[in-house]
Point group: C2
Chain length 214, copies 2
C-alpha cells in the first residue's frame, strides 16, 4: 500500500508517519520509484506499536527507539524483551540509600519477596526498577508513620501476581514470536492505566456499598 493508504489504515496522519520514518521508528517502505514507496502489514503493526508507546505511553522518541531495538532483537529471550518495555516506562525517583526509612524498606521488601517465594525477583533486586519503586513506596508509608502490616502487603502482591498472569496469558495469545514481543510492550503501556482506573472505580463501588452515599 502507499503512504496515503497506510495513513487511512492506521488512523495516523501522513505527516506523523513521515516523522516516524525520519526518526527511524518505522522501517522505510520498499521504494517503487523516486517518489513512491510501498508499505505492508508489518508497517501497519509497527505503527500501532509506536503509537502505543508515544501517544498512549508518552515515551520520549529516544526511549521508544531503544525499546524497538530490543523488540527486534530475536536473539533475546522473552523475559528480556518484556523487560525492555517495562524498564523504559517512567520510573519513580531513585531511593535515597542513606535514608533510614529506605534501608528499613529494603529489609521489608526482601522479606516480602521471600514470603512470596518470588525467587527470580530476589535475584533482580539490584537491577530492577520495579523493585526500587516498591522500596520507595514502602518507605513513603513508613515515613508517614502508618502501621502497615506485612500480611497486607503480601495480599496485595498476590493479587498483582494474578494480574501479571493474565497479562502474560494475553501476550502468549498472540500468533507469532514478533507479535508476542510487540504485545508485551503494548500491554506494559496499556494495562497499567486500565488497572488504575478499575482500582479507583472499585474503591468507589466498595465505599458506596459499605457506607452508602449519605
Amino acid at each position: 500500500m502507499r503512504l496515503a493508504e497506510l495513513s487511512e489504515h492506521s488512523g495516523v496522519s501522513t505527516a506523523t508517519i513521515k516523522y516516524y520514518l525520519r526518526e527511524g521508528l518505522l522501517p522505510p517502505g520498499r521504494q517503487v520509484n523516486a517518489t513512491t514507496a510501498e508499505y505492508d502489514a508489518e508497517h501497519v503493526r509497527r505503527l500501532r506499536l509506536v503509537r502505543a508507546m508515544i501517544q498512549v505511553g508518552r515515551m520520549p522518541v529516544a526511549t521508544a527507539r531503544e525499546v524497538l531495538r530490543h523488540v527486534d532483537d530475536d536473539s533475546l529471550g522473552r523475559t528480556i524483551r518484556l523487560g525492555a518495555a517495562l524498564w523504559a516506562l517512567p520510573q519513580v525517583p531513585e531511593p535515597d540509600e542513606d535514608d533510614a526509612f529506605v534501608r528499613a524498606a529494603h529489609r521489608e521488601a526482601g522479606a516480602l519477596l521471600e514470603s512470596l517465594g518470588w525467587t527470580n525477583s530476589m535475584m533482580l533486586t539490584t537491577v530492577s526498577p520495579a523493585y526500587r519503586s516498591l522500596v520507595v513506596a514502602i518507605a513513603a508509608f513508613r515515613r508517614l508513620g502508618y502501621d502497615w502490616d506485612a500480611q497486607r502487603l503480601l495480599l496485595y502482591a498476590r493479587l498483582m501476581h494474578e494480574a501479571a498472569g493474565l497479562d502474560l496469558d494475553f501476550v502468549e495469545s498472540q500468533p507469532s514470536e514478533a507479535e508476542k514481543a510487540e504485545c508485551a510492550v503494548v500491554s506494559a503501556v496499556l494495562i497499567e492505566p486500565m488497572l488504575q482506573a478499575l482500582h479507583r472505580l472499585a474503591q468507589e463501588e466498595e465505599s458506596a456499598r459499605r457506607y452508602g452515599f449519605e
Copy 2:
C-alpha cells in the same frame, strides 16, 4: 510543642511548616505570646497528611486545600470524603465523545459494570473520573486493534475489587472518624504507586518463571 519540636517530630523543615501555615494547609498554633505558638498532636497528624498529598502525591497546593476542606467537613458521609481524595488525583484527559472508539468503550464499560454487579458505580458513570479513565483505557486498546475479550476485563476488575476491599479495611482500622478520613486520602495517594510497583515486579517474576532469563 513549639515550631522547632514540631519540625523535629515530623521531619519537615520549619521553613516548609511556615509555608504550609501561610497557605492555610495547617491550622495556626495556639498563640502563647507575640512570637511563639504552641502545636499539638493534631498538627503532627495534619502535617503527615499534607506531606502525603504534596510531597508524595505531587498535588498542587490549591488541590490539597480543597481535599482538606472535604476531610474536615464531618457533615459529609465517608464515601464522599474518600471520593474527595480520589477525584483530586491526577486524571487522564477527558474522552472525546465524538470518537467511535470512545462510544464503543462506553458500551463495553457499561456491560462490564453490569456483569460485575457494581450497581453503585453504574449510577456514577456521568460524574466519576474513574469511570472516564476506564473508558479512555478501553478505547486505547480498541484503537490499537487488539482483541481484548470482555472476560479478561472482568477478571482484572475482580482482582481490583479485592484490592479495594483491602484498602478500605485499612481505612477502617484507624481509631477515629477524623483519622479514617485522613487515612482515606493518604491511602489514595500511597496505594496506587505500591500496586504499580508490585504489578511490575510480578510481571518480571512471572515472565522469568515462564521463559527463564535466556
